[in-house]
């Protein structure tokens, strides 16, 4: 017999977990005590939400569930934003929370909160563990649920007395869930219909979303696209599937996307969406779009198909298996070449910008940074103007990876996500880009970076405003700016240095090259504060 808390750790080990992100408290102490005795590396973040975001970065790089931990009550509620963020982007997380003792549940005791209830709308599944002997089965199921089908966060809430109960430990070999059987293989009839549609269409277009990453299907998609010769646009979550300079790639679509992509969406006669959920920021008026074109939708989640747009050919299944089969078709060579020429004409055309003295040009700056970084760099963008500057200007190359929160747009995601990403793959350069507003929602994580010695690079676009909201107010509310001025403080260079992190400031494009060089060549963590004009535009 062993303590259930030890069984939990053993389950993690069985699942191959090497790193967990968390923040302790009384109700989760037995579990922590067993982590102490194990070979699992615990990363102490400085706020529970960041445990979730760091686990998200880790999970997205490894494409398997990552673990975050919080105590009961406030620890658990702090984690909620990260759970919702992961849910919106289908990121596989195992969220373990401590809970008050089972005999006290429902009595409103100290640090008691109904966290499974609170998280219910945005978890894939949750467990409140009442029987310690159920834990091995629950842990096994949780990893299976989080990491298969449409991935997502699974919450396991474990009362402190349950953690301390002695149980016989045996990790189950198999899952017995009669209700949960996600469809992986696509229906062959639909697949051949899609093949035909791709050949017969005059102006086909593929829209690639984050599902392509989740099913690890990037090379399969590229093989299919190149064989069928179909141009591609990307959602925000699908950025970096295709290298920016790929001959068939047009850029990001949507309200913050580029003209070439949006015009192609407007003008195509067949739109093939793959692992994309037709979110409103990507496609504003789907029913209008569907009127004059054939819509094909491929997704692992049947509930996404037909939810936001009427679909002519639906196909449920795993992108990777489906794309492998699609690529096996016989496609005519050099198909759709007139259409490709047409849509490619506007690729790469950028809006004009006035020079602003004493400031950098954030768009040009992002391009320069991406040109200087290695091809396999991981770029994590936060939320706001800085995010869109990255989306539309970072030059993604074969092997690079872009991470951001597309579904929730959670400020404060980039730095903790970068920490998780770097821990998952220390061989790759990881860059976080954020605004001065979002940076101040996560700057406590500088401490984690130092403590764990994680050499991530951070660029803060300091425009002294909550820029994206400022722009909304300027355009939509007669420039009546309220609650968007965040001042010039703190001095981020001094702030970073106070943690012992190298930092510099750049306020003119003439210094850009030199500063970027220092950022890139540093083998320690490095923060670059960039002075940006407060009225810089998003697009």
């Amino acid at each position: 017999m062993i303590r259930a808390a030890q069984a939990m750790v053993k389950c993690l080990e069985k699942e191959g977990v090497k790193v967990v992100f968390g923040y302790p408290g009384a109700a989760i102490c037995p579990f922590y005590d067993e982590i102490y005795a194990s070979g699992i590396h615990h990363v102490l973040v400085r706020h529970e939400a960041n445990a979730g975001h760091a686990a998200s970065g880790y999970a997205r790089m490894t494409n398997s569930p990552a673990v975050c931990i919080a105590t009961s009550g406030p620890g658990a509620t702090n984690l909620l934003t990260a759970i919702a963020t992961a849910y919106a982007d289908s990121v596989p997380l195992i969220c373990i929370t401590g809970q008050v003792s089972t005999d006290q549940i429902g009595c409103d005791v100290f640090q008691e909160v109904d966290i499974t209830g609170a998280a219910e709308p945005f978890v894939k599944y949750s467990y409140l563990v009442k029987e310690a002997s159920d834990l091995p089965r629950i842990m096994k199921e949780a990893f299976h649920l989080a990491g298969t089908g449409r991935k997502g966060p699974v919450l396991i809430d474990v009362p402190v007395d349950v953690q301390n109960t002695m149980i016989d430990f045996e990790y189950p070999d198999e899952i017995r869930m009669r209700t949960y059987k996600p469809t992986v293989k696509g229906n062959p009839l639909q697949i051949s219909r899609i093949r035909e549609a791709c050949i017969n269409a005059e102006k086909p277009l593929i829209c690639a979303g984050g599902g392509v990453f989740l099913s690890d299907a990037c090379s399969e998609l590229r093989a299919f696209v190149e064989k069928a010769n179909i141009p591609v646009v990307s959602t925000m979550m699908g950025l970096s599937i295709f290298p920016t300079d790929h001959r068939l790639y047009l850029g990001m679509l949507g309200s913050h996307g580029v003209k070439s992509a949006n015009h192609a969406v407007r003008d195509c006669d067949t739109l093939i969406m793959i692992g994309a959920r037709v979110g409103d920021r990507a496609i504003l008026s789907p029913s209008f779009l569907a009127e004059n074109k054939q819509i094909i939708h491929i997704d692992i989640d049947p509930a996404e198909i037909g939810k936001n747009i009427p679909v002519d050919i639906p196909l449920v299944g795993d992108c990777r298996s489906i794309l492998t089969e699609l690529a096996q078709g016989d496609y005519p060579e050099n198909a759709h070449s007139a259409w490709i020429d047409e849509v490619m004409q506007s690729k790469g055309i950028r809006p004009k910008r006035d020079d602003a003295e004493g400031f950098i040009d954030p768009k040009a700056f992002i391009r320069m940074v991406s040109d200087r970084l290695p091809d396999n760099t991981v770029c994590v963008a936060d939320v706001g103007q800085n995010q869109i500057w990255c989306c539309n200007n970072f030059a993604f190359r074969s092997g690079s990876r872009f991470l951001t929160t597309g579904g929730m747009g959670t400020m404060g995601y980039s730095v903790p996500c970068a920490v998780g990403a770097k821990m998952a793959d220390p061989s790759r350069e990881v860059l976080a880009v954020c605004g001065d507003g979002s940076f101040q929602m996560q700057m406590m994580e500088l401490a984690t970076i130092v403590q764990e010695n994680i050499p991530v690079k951070i660029i803060v676009m300091k425009n002294t405003k909550l820029g994206m909201v400022r722009e909304l107010q300027s355009k939509g509310y007669g420039d009546r700016q309220i609650a968007v001025d965040i001042g010039t403080y703190p001095d981020l260079v001094m702030l970073a240095q106070s943690y012992g992190i190298k930092a510099e400031r750049v306020s003119d494009m003439s210094e850009a090259e030199e500063k970027i060089e220092r950022l890139v060549s540093s083998d320690e963590a490095f923060l670059l504060e960039c002075s940006v004009y407060e009225r810089e535009t998003t697009l």
Binding site: E120, P121, Y125, K130, T179, P302, A303, G306
Partner: protein, 162 residues
């Protein structure tokens, strides 16, 4: 439009709140919800009558299917189902009115299940329309209290949901 939806679910803790929460979140109004175990005690059957257009109904069916605890979902068409609801009514009944009320009960297929010198309590199991009629018939005597279970439904013929 009214939809009657039968859902078979694993009888796990929290399953009812997962199902009902889903309706609320997707903007689908529940008219009635009834739940009970099936022949297999590990499985519950939930019958939901809800209002919404065809698109929303399809969405709800898919979202219900997506719940990890869901075994089977079936949206039952109005012409393929037998629907019943149980209603109990406590009505004012002075001795002079008792026989009248008894006649109503007899014709409506209702049963008297309790009685006091001034009240009668009657029980009726029928379709929602008949329940309403029973209510209307007794209203004149003065209804003191009324309680309904919500609709349960089963398909006509030999087909089953399992």
């Amino acid at each position: 439009m009214k939809h009657t939806i039968s859902v078979l679910v694993e009888n796990h803790a929290g399953v009812l709140s997962r199902v009902s929460g889903l309706f609320a979140r997707r903007g689908f109004n529940i008219d009635s919800l009834a739940v009970g175990v099936t022949g297999d005690p590990a499985v519950s059957r939930i019958t939901i009558v809800a209002d919404g257009d065809e698109h929303t109904a399809q969405q709800i069916e898919k979202q219900l299917n997506k719940l990890v605890d869901t075994i089977k979902v079936k949206v039952l068409g109005a012409d393929e189902l037998l629907a019943r609801e149980l209603q109990m009514i406590k009505v004012n009944a002075a001795p002079a009115q008792r026989s009248e009320i008894l006649t109503i009960c007899e014709i409506m297929g209702a049963k008297v299940i309790d009685m006091t010198p001034t009240t009668m309590t009657v029980e009726i199991s029928d379709s929602a329309v008949q329940l309403q009629r029973m209510h209307d018939l007794l209203e004149g005597y003065g209804i003191k209290e009324i309680v309904r279970t919500g609709t349960i439904a089963i398909q006509k013929g030999s087909v089953t949901i399992r």
